[in-house]
C-alpha cells in the first residue's frame, strides 16, 4: 500500500509547477471545503446532542423507567435492558448462520454453478434492502404462522436477518486473507477439507470475523425502523424478562421522546442519544482493539 502510494505521488511532485495555476488552487480549495463540510457536520451533530442533553446525563437515565408525565426524571432503563437482550439474541442468531454461509461460499462453493451464482447476486441485493422491509417480513411471517410479533424474539430475528449479509461478507473477507499455504499444509498432513477449515482456516480468521460482527451488531443496536412493526414502540415500564416478553430498545425510546414537543423530553432524548453513541463507540473500540491485537499478518 505504502509503496503504491510512493509510485502514485512521485511523478506528481515533479509536476508541482502546473498545480499552482489559479484554477488548480480553486479546485483544491473546493475539495478541501467538501471534506471540511463532512467533518463539520459530524462535529456539529455531536456537540449539539451533548449541549442539549448533558444536564440529563444522571442516574435517573439508567435506573428509572420512561414516563409520559414526568420527563424531568424519566429514564431509559427498560430500553437499555431491552437493547441488551435483543442484541445478544441477534448475535446468537446471526453470527453462527452468517459464519457458516460465509465459510461455504468462500471455501467450498463452485462459483460457476448456477445456484451459487444465485446466492451471490441475492446477497448483494439483500444487503441493500431497506431496513424497515425486514420488519415487515418478520411481522408478516409471525402473523401467518400465528406467533406473537411484539416480542423480543421477533425483534432479534428481524435484526439478525438485517445484519446477516454483512456478517457473511465479513467472514468471506477474513477467510480470503488466510494464505493458501496454511490450507495446503493442513491437507498435506492428511486433514479433511472440513478439518482444515475448522482447525486452521477458521481460527486464523476469527479476529477478522469478530471485528466485522461487532461492527454489524453496533449497526443493529442503532437500528429502529424494523422494530417499529415488531412491538418496539409500546410503553414499557418493566424489565424485559425473556424471549417472549414485551420490550423496547434505545433507538425507539429516543424516537418516542423526540416526537414529544416538550423541552424536557428533548433533553432526555439527547441524553439517551449520548448514551447510545457512547455504547456504539465502545463496541467499535473493542472491534478495533481485536483487529489490531489479534489479527495475524501473513
Amino acid at each position: 500500500m505504502a509503496s503504491l502510494g510512493a509510485i502514485a505521488t512521485a511523478p506528481l511532485k515533479a509536476k508541482r509547477e502546473g498545480d499552482k495555476s489559479a484554477k488548480s488552487i480553486v479546485f483544491m480549495g473546493v475539495l478541501w471545503f467538501t471534506i471540511f463540510f463532512s467533518v463539520l457536520c459530524l462535529g456539529t451533530l455531536l456537540v449539539n446532542a451533548f449541549f442539549d442533553g448533558w444536564t440529563r446525563l444522571d442516574g435517573n437515565l439508567i435506573t428509572r423507567y420512561s414516563s409520559t408525565v414526568l420527563p424531568e426524571t424519566a429514564g431509559a432503563r427498560a430500553a437499555i435492558l431491552g437493547s441488551a437482550l435483543v442484541i445478544v439474541m441477534t448475535a446468537v442468531l446471526a453470527i453462527p448462520l452468517g459464519v457458516a454461509a460465509g465459510v461455504y461460499l468462500e471455501e467450498f462453493a463452485d462459483p460457476r454453478r448456477w445456484y451459487n451464482k444465485i446466492i451471490e447476486v441475492n446477497l448483494t441485493n439483500l444487503a441493500a434492502v431497506p431496513a424497515i422491509v425486514y420488519g415487515m417480513l418478520t411481522a408478516g411471517v409471525a402473523l401467518s404462522i400465528g406467533l406473537p410479533r411484539r416480542v423480543v424474539l421477533a425483534g432479534a430475528i428481524a435484526l439478525a436477518l438485517l445484519i446477516l449479509p454483512v456478517i457473511i461478507i465479513t467472514t468471506r473477507e477474513a477467510m480470503r486473507a488466510v494464505p493458501r499455504e496454511i490450507r495446503e499444509g493442513s491437507l498435506a498432513l492428511g486433514a479433511t477439507p472440513l478439518q482444515t477449515v475448522w482447525r486452521q482456516t477458521l481460527p486464523s480468521a476469527v479476529p477478522g470475523i469478530a471485528t466485522g460482527s461487532i461492527i454489524a451488531l453496533s449497526r443493529a443496536l442503532g437500528e429502529a425502523a424494523p422494530l417499529l412493526l415488531l412491538g418496539g414502540l409500546v410503553f414499557v415500564s418493566y424489565d424485559p424478562n425473556g424471549l417472549f416478553s414485551g420490550y423496547t430498545v434505545l433507538p425507539i425510546q429516543i424516537y418516542d421522546w423526540v416526537k414529544e414537543p416538550q423541552l424536557a423530553f428533548q433533553q432526555v432524548a439527547s441524553a439517551a442519544i449520548i448514551l447510545m453513541l457512547g455504547l456504539l463507540l465502545l463496541m467499535n473500540a473493542v472491534a478495533i482493539v481485536i483487529r489490531n491485537r489479534y489479527q495475524k499478518r501473513w
Binding site: 502510494g5 498545480d19 463452485d110 424497515i132 415487515m136 449479509p165 492428511g190 433507538p251
Partner: protein, 328 residues
C-alpha cells in the same frame, strides 16, 4: 463411514486415490469437493450449504410476505387508483388510496439528499483518492466511517432540533415549519455522503496508475488528470455509488418519520411538510392495525412498492458496476 476408508483402509489417509495431484492448483474448491468426507462431515456440509441457502429463502420470504397482503389490497382498490391517484387518506372516513403523495414526498427528500451527497461525497472521494497524503487519509477515513455509523434516529433528532430551527430558520433565513421535506432531505444527504464517498473512492482508486502517468507525461497537471482522465475512467463506478446512495435514501425511515411530517400531500415546495413511503409505514405500523384489515394490507402494498423501487435501483447499480469490469 466413508466408502473410501472401508475399501482402502488407512492408506487413504495419506494418499487419496483417484485424485489428480495437480488438480488442486487448477481449482482448489473443486479439489476439495471431489474428496469424500466422513459421515459427520457430510452433515456439517449440509449445515453450511443450508446457511448459505437461507439467504435465498429470506428473499423469497420478503417477496411473499409483501405480495400476499398487497394482492388482498388490490382486490379492494384498483391498481390504477393506487398508482395514479393523488390523494392519500387511507384512514379517513372518505378513504382514498392514491399513492402519488407518498411517492412525491420520497422523491423530494431523495433529490434534496442527492443534491447534498453528490457534490460533497464526490469532492471527498476525489480528495481521498487523488490528493490526500497518507496522514490526512488516516484521519479522514474514520471520520467518514463514524458518519456512516451514526444511527438514523440521531440524524432525525439533528434534523428536527438543529437543522430546521437553527440552520434553516436562523442562519439561512429560510422559512420552514417544524416539519419540512427540506430539513429531512438535507440531513438525509449528510447521512449518505459516506456511501457516495467510499464507493466512488474505490472506483477511482481502481483506475490503473498507467493512465495517470500517461496524462502527466503529456503535461497535464493534477487537476486536469483528475477531471479528464481518472473521473471519466471511473464514471461507471461513481454512477453506481450514486444510485446505491439514492436507494438508501429512498429506504431510510427514521429521519423522514421524525423531520418530514405526517401530512401526505403532493409536495410542491421544499419548505412544505410531506410524508414519504417509509414515513407512512413507520406511522401506521406503530398504531393498532389488525391483520387482514384494509389498513394492514395498505401498509404492505406501500412496502412492496418500496421494495420493488429499491430492488430496481440496486439491480441498475449492479449492472453499471459490471460494465466497469469489462473496461480493464
Amino acid at each position: 463411514m466413508s466408502s473410501t476408508i472401508a475399501t482402502e483402509g488407512s492408506s487413504s489417509q495419506t494418499t487419496p486415490q483417484g485424485v489428480d495431484p495437480d488438480s488442486y492448483n487448477k481449482d482448489p474448491a473443486g479439489f476439495l469437493r471431489q474428496r469424500r468426507g466422513r459421515y459427520g462431515e457430510r452433515v456439517a456440509m449440509v449445515a453450511l450449504v443450508g446457511s448459505a441457502g437461507l439467504s435465498v429463502l429470506v428473499t423469497i420470504g420478503i417477496f411473499f410476505a409483501l405480495l400476499v397482503p398487497s394482492l388482498e389490497f388490490l382486490r379492494e382498490i384498483s391498481i390504477r387508483e393506487f398508482l395514479t391517484g393523488d390523494r392519500w387518506a387511507p384512514t379517513f372516513a372518505d378513504a382514498s388510496f392514491g399513492v402519488l403523495p407518498l411517492v412525491t414526498g420520497t422523491m423530494w427528500t431523495t433529490v434534496i439528499g442527492l443534491l447534498i451527497a453528490i457534490p460533497f461525497g464526490l469532492g471527498a472521494a476525489i480528495y481521498l483518492a487523488e490528493y490526500a497524503p497518507e496522514r490526512v487519509r488516516r484521519f479522514l477515513k474514520p471520520v467518514l466511517e463514524v458518519l456512516a455509523g451514526i444511527p438514523s434516529v440521531v440524524y432525525g433528532y439533528f434534523a428536527l432540533y438543529f437543522v430546521a430551527p437553527t440552520v434553516l430558520n436562523d442562519l439561512l433565513s429560510v422559512e420552514v415549519g417544524t416539519f419540512s421535506v427540506l430539513a429531512a432531505g438535507l440531513v438525509l444527504g449528510i447521512m449518505i455522503i459516506p456511501t457516495v464517498a467510499s464507493l466512488s473512492e474505490d472506483a477511482m482508486s481502481a483506475v490503473p496508475q498507467s493512465l495517470r502517468q500517461a496524462s502527466f507525461a503529456l503535461g497535464a497537471n493534477r487537476m486536469r488528470t483528475t477531471l479528464r482522465v481518472v473521473f471519466p475512467a471511473a464514471v461507471s463506478g461513481i454512477t453506481a455509488s450514486i444510485v446505491l446512495a439514492a436507494s438508501r435514501a429512498v429506504g431510510e425511515t427514521m429521519i423522514v418519520a421524525l423531520a418530514a411530517g405526517t401530512q401526505a400531500q403532493v409536495v410542491s415546495s421544499p419548505t412544505e411538510p410531506g410524508q414519504t413511503m417509509t414515513g407512512f409505514i413507520a406511522q401506521t405500523a406503530t398504531g393498532e392495525s389488525s391483520p387482514g384489515s384494509l389498513t394492514y394490507n395498505t401498509l404492505f402494498a406501500v412496502g412492496l412498492l418500496l421494495f420493488v423501487v429499491t430492488l430496481l435501483m440496486n439491480v441498475v447499480a449492479g449492472s453499471i458496476v459490471r460494465r466497469i469490469r469489462e473496461v480493464y
